[in-house]
Amino acid sequence: MPEHFEYFLDNPAINLRSLLQAVEVYGQSQLWPDAVRFRVSLILDELITNGCTHGNKNAATLNFTARLTDQEKEVVIELIDSGESFDPTRKTEAPCPLEYPVKIGGIGLCLVGRLAKSVTYARNEERNCLRIVLDKEFSCNILK
């Protein structure tokens, strides 16, 4: 199976699920563990959902291109969209204080920022270009 995956997504509010299903199939073909497939899907899900909800006044023409590159120890996710300029790397602060009331908004981008090894943003030719590097060996050492 190829080490590269590319998917063009128009009408993301309706077709996001199809992208995530294709990512799941690709991840299985690359023999990714459950955790890696989950993290890649979650990152795409959160970023695309956020892009559809915010920073886009022209939803009818919004589209995304998702590219995955499978490397030995990392998965590189590239997500390019036609929406308004928006840099999610500026919005990854922890949204969860320890006491009531707990803030609800912002958790999606927080998760992306904390799951990723690195997130870089550029605005090129009126498109948002995100490059997310995910470490396959990432472990949080939890609930053992």
Binding site: L16, D34, A94, V102, G108, C110, L111, R114, I142, L143
Partner: protein
Amino acid sequence: MQYLEIAHPFASIFRVSGRIDLNSTPELEQKVLESLDQGRKYLAMDFSELDYINSAGLRILVMSYQRINPQGGSVMICGARDYIAELFEISGYNRIFEMHQDLSSVLKRLDEVTPDQDGQ
């Protein structure tokens, strides 16, 4: 997504399987909040058969927490696979929800909280 509400005298307990995502969240949110509307202040979610959850799903849990925490209640999560439990860790929500290994642990915890003690 499929869910089963498990009968309990004073807690809302749901076993959820499959995917909690943007499509399935509204239905689950409605069911959970309807159950809490009955005056219950403990919510337990059995995620042992859950494959996927995103921030929309986590939002249901936080909304529930905001509702029942001021009454002395709590949100309990059990059985989550490691990669899903990881989300609670990195978001910090594991510090406000009770994380349990399995449903029997949750039931044992609820046994320690009698309805009379809680004034229910």
